[in-house]
Subunit: 352 residues, 5 copies
């Protein structure tokens, strides 16, 4: 529910807690300028760093945070301060943007749907003048369309510098929240029908789970809105005006996602109400069956009890019409009871 | 519940997702100056653009977003940037106002009542010095009175430039929320009576639906308030002082609508409480019937059981007054029970 | 629940929707300076306007908004802009203060208690250098004490100019909320006692009604607080420093009223809780009666049933002490049941 | 619940509503400088005013607001404006600080616990260059320690001027909230135990009462926080830097008290939940007793009923082992029922 | 629930309320510069003060606030003002940062988990140019890793001055909240399972307790966030830029902790809902058992009652097939009842 890879309390700032897996980070580089594109898988940080030159933009994409040596190498070559490296490794950090000497660090939170559960992953983006360096926790991301656009060599992308690439990555992260929202929107609609149909604790549990997921999503999107806002408003030398224009659009999307989350959370509250009242109604229904059965049979059972008594002197028992008369009286009692319940609307469907 | 026409995650900014229908956009132009008015249905963007001149104001009203070619033509002729075009096409966008080079873009959300359900539609307004270009998702709008006022040639309208026309359109969008609010106000009053009368899950469902609609309306009106405020406060060259004066009025209306929505939402919460307590009361009523029936008949049935036993030595059975005496005792028991329930107020109406 | 006299959607700004009644507005003028006071009932706007001069203050008080001609006459003579006139006529407007050319317009909302229901009425105040022009929706207001003070010719009032008169009117509007609050405070106290005594849906309905009224009052007082604040802070030429000093006092009252409303609303929520738990308790009480009756009689009825069986070989039936022994056993069973219920505290009063 | 001594609606500002009692105000003066202290009971305002001189500080403490003449005398001698006098007399006012010509007026709200109920009282403090004039509604206050400190002639107090005395008084008012909070903290703990032990409407009523008291306290402390903040931030000539330093401390206490009130209010909400669920549990317990009793005896009573029938041909009745066999079957039925309930956990304690 | 060591109401500011124990404060000093480290246990304040020199940093760590004399000695030697000393001694104070003459005072709140309960303790930090003086309420803290880092003589710590040591202490305080949050996260998960499994008031009580603890933690962390923010933004001469860089990191952690607390609090609210609905479901289950038992046996018991009557003329009784026929009818009745309940889904598991 809440887990943070953090070093022992009071450790030196910059203490790193590396992932469990000794899994080797995969390093993929895209080096491009208008008319040229190279895609290279590097072995280590030094290889990646050697690719940098002033005429091209390099996107160095590192998957996996398990190998301390590689990460420290990157830190040294790309002038990543210890505090910045800590933010990359000790996930999850709150999304934020910070200037660190020669580069700009954006911590973002990517969300993916895996088996109907959201799976958050931190993407740390270092923006330099001629490179973008991204660190992801695990293989698998939502950036394939960004790569496609680089490959397409359209009129804008390859001409627009490293800050535009950074924008494109952040935009992909934000846009990936839309299908998640649609998924939850669909879930909520399905749940509402199911709860009205047949309220079950399992459904409530599911509503509770959705609420928790929405809280997690909100906790992710809220600081990213601030991050984008900060990139627009603050005077970061590396972020061009052209990029800021596009970030405004991205900002609007983040706000729209937050709006939708708030709406969903209110709808969850509403489902809760529907659930409780459905339970109340079902209880009423059970009670009414019991009450009707008992009210009809208790009086006539009493009458049968009366004439089951063994008093020597009970004149009705001798009367040859006693038995049919009693049966008639019982029938009349039952009828009047039924009529009374009918007039109260208790015999109708469960909507009453 | 939540749907957005958005391109695949990470697509190039400016990627457009056009409507399902290949339906041709309808282009209606009103060209006017004091003393002159032309209403023309154009075939394409070029025809509409050809109508512009410096002495008249043109309102170019495009219905339907299904045809990519026409829209790209408009974008080219009216210098609409790719990001702005994306905002027009990938509906719904959050309402906002933005300067794009030579024109001002206002994204508004029009709401109409259709078959008692609200139907939101995005109206995108481009304000240029001598034209207003509006894009609507579908045919059918709330602007007929605006057109009437242009036709009337009153003392103000045709003299007041393109920003006044923009104001008139926004004002019409905002004013269209009033009848919707009245509709929901009426619905809530009706529902309250119905719930007190006879609480049914269907009614609760309806309250839930109203809450959802109110959330959607609020999500529409809130950013439009900001939009209007921004047009008043920010220094947009195209918005005249005269228009700003009128926008202040429009702003007050938006605030008033938001106030009403908040009130309605609180009333929805209150209805929920009334519903739950009504259910509780009905349950109480059912329980009381059961308890009264059982409490009255169980003791006397027991007495009848006693004298139905087959012990050889039960002196009462031989007593000729045994039977009437027992009946009298039973009658006394029933009477005292009834009196007790009456004194507890359980025999009254269901208000107890 | 929500009603606004507004023109058809999209109408020209300044379109007026006059009241249903063709009722003629009553125009009362008080013209005063230190040592002089005239009270005149005018026939029309021109008569009232003719009374203005530079040495006296005129309070022109118009009751009733039904007559378009008179209102348009006032607008012309007192230089009321179309937007301002619209605010006067299309009630209710959100309270606000606005400068319109030569005069200052304050829209206030007066509340009166009529038959225990609050009745809001808009009072629009135009402040000019030598006059105050007020428009009320209906005859009947809370300004009689203000008139009395003008008549008394005290040391301050007649010397203090038109802005002081405006202050006195606003102060009277705000002060009129106090008795309303006291009324609701009294209602809530009465209701709490009644709900604890005997929870009935009718009471809940009343709580719901009070909540709705409080929302309406809050919607009235909140923007009036802003109005007064704006008159204190903003540099309106017509509002003197002396008046601002008094407006600060008035502002404190508005804040105090808002505080009280919030408290009342929280108390309403508390009453709801008390209601629900009272219902729960009553249900418990009913259930306990049923359970005790059933638990005591069901076992002994069973015993009676046993010895009512017709087996040929049941030795107890032949035993002459069988019957009294069984009765003794039954008595013991009943006693132990009663003792058990007593020990659980179920036989006490309904507080258990 | 809400009561304000206010003049008729629309009265002249400055209209005073004096207390019911014609009780004479008590006037106590402490006149001190380092090394000198006089405590004098004055008869009237003139006597008190005559004690002022430039070398000493006078604390003139007036108890009781019932006597108009004395108060008007004070107003005249100490240059109290009509609006300020109104704030003193027409209690309760919202706490605030205001400059009035030559003096500074602080309206504070003192809270005392009397018979476990909070009793608010307004203390109005006029700060002049060489005097502090306080008005209290009733005899009895929380200022005895302040007087003690003046009497002690410590190193700071008598040297620190009139603003320090004002601070000491405000500090005493704020500090007096701590024991009240402790009282409510203790009450809430006791109530929680009592509610879990045995939920009763009376307890709920008490929670409701505490919530109301907390609202009242919050309404008192909140504006006093603003008051102190205003004294620190605004440039009041009479408040020295040394005093401001101490007021910062006082401000922290006010914030801490507000924090605690918010916590208490949330705990009240939690108690409500505990109460409702306790009721639900008790109801469950009652229901289970009923269900177990009924489920065990109803089937065997039915069996007894079968063999109580008078059919001529019922072979079991003739069988000499019929009776013991039936008893054995009944015992088996009861045992299996008990086992079933036990396996469902219904026979355990009420925690199930 | 709420306790503050505060002096009698109205006491002189600076009045100290010392701890109950006459326990002697333990004074531990770490004196270090690059390449040198001394750890000394001092007897009194004078010994500690004598260790200060311009070339080294001294961390003087005082445990225990019970001894007035020692504390006053410290106050005198380290120029601690009476108000600052009061803040140290009269715990708990609201966390804050204040400049007092030559030193900076940070009041922080350290939280430890002891036997699964949080135990708050105030740590007061005085930052001077060449020393850091900390006061703790009790022995035992979370600063051991800080001491280790000083001992390690790493590249940064001993070179970074007294403000860096202050940062390290505050960072240790903040980081110590993470394991507490993890503990509560684990508790909440366990509780949710337990509540769904078997709702018991004891669990609810536990949820209530967690809510209270979370409130306490929030009350601790919220002002510490402000404290750190103030150290970053305000121009405190003693806080270096290098330290501020690290404080930004610390600030992010505080925000992240607050986010998590809010999420936990919402989850607590959700657990409450799950609990209430679980109770409702169990009640339903109990009711269904009762209703099914009663509905099946009441009618056939009635039939048995009929043929237990002693009417002389009941032809069925004579019929040799009467008894088996009746038994067959009863079996049919029971079967149809069971089928009916089955079709309503009442015979399934408790999810219905």
């Amino acid at each position: 529910m809440f887990k943070k890879r953090h070093p022992p309390v009071g450790s030196m700032p910059g203490t790193l807690v590396f992932g469990d897996a000794a899994q080797r980070p995969a390093i993929r580089v895209m080096k491009y300028k208008p008319g040229m594109l190279q895609e290279i898988d590097c072995e280590n940080a030094a290889d990646a760093h050697a690719l940098l030159d002033d005429e091209t933009i390099c996107w160095i994409d590192v998957h996996g945070l398990g190998d301390e040596k590689t990460l420290r190498e990157f830190a040294e070559l790309f002038k990543i301060t210890p505090l910045a490296l800590e933010a990359v490794v000790n996930v999850p950090q709150r999304p934020k943007v910070e200037t660190h000497d020669s580069n700009l660090l954006c911590i973002t939170r990517m969300m993916k749907l895996t088996d109907d559960r959201i799976e958050p992953e931190q993407v740390s983006i270092f923006l330099g003048s001629n490179y973008v360096l991204t660190f992801q926790e695990r293989p698998g991301d939502v950036f394939e369309p960004v790569r496609e656009r680089i490959r397409m060599d359209g009129p804008i992308f390859r001409r627009s510098g490293s800050s535009y690439l950074t924008y494109a990555i952040i935009d992909a992260v934000i846009d990936a929240y839309y299908p998640i929202l649609e998924h939850y929107g669909y879930l909520l609609e399905t749940l509402e029908d199911a709860i009205v149909e047949k309220p079950r604790p399992a459904l409530l549990h599911e509503v509770h789970g959705i609420k928790r997921d929405l809280l997690a999503i909100r906790r992710g999107i809220w600081p990213q809105r601030e991050l984008i806002n900060s990139m627009i408003r603050d005077e970061f030398a590396l972020v061009t005006e052209h990029t800021k224009l596009h970030l405004r659009d991205c900002y609007d999307h983040a706000v729209q996602i937050m709006d939708a989350i708030e709406t969903f959370r209110e709808l969850c509250g509403g489902l809760m109400d529907v659930y409780l009242s459905s339970i109340g109604n079902r209880q009423n229904e059970v009670m009414k069956v019991l009450t009707i059965m008992a009210s009809i049979f208790i009086p006539i059972t009493f009458l049968a009890g009366i004439y089951g008594m063994n008093f020597e002197k009970m004149p009705e028992l001798k009367n040859p019409y006693g038995y049919p008369t009693l049966l008639a009286i019982m029938a009349a009692l039952v009828s009047s009871m039924l009529w009374w319940f009918y007039s109260k609307g208790w015999l109708g469907n469960r909507d009453n």
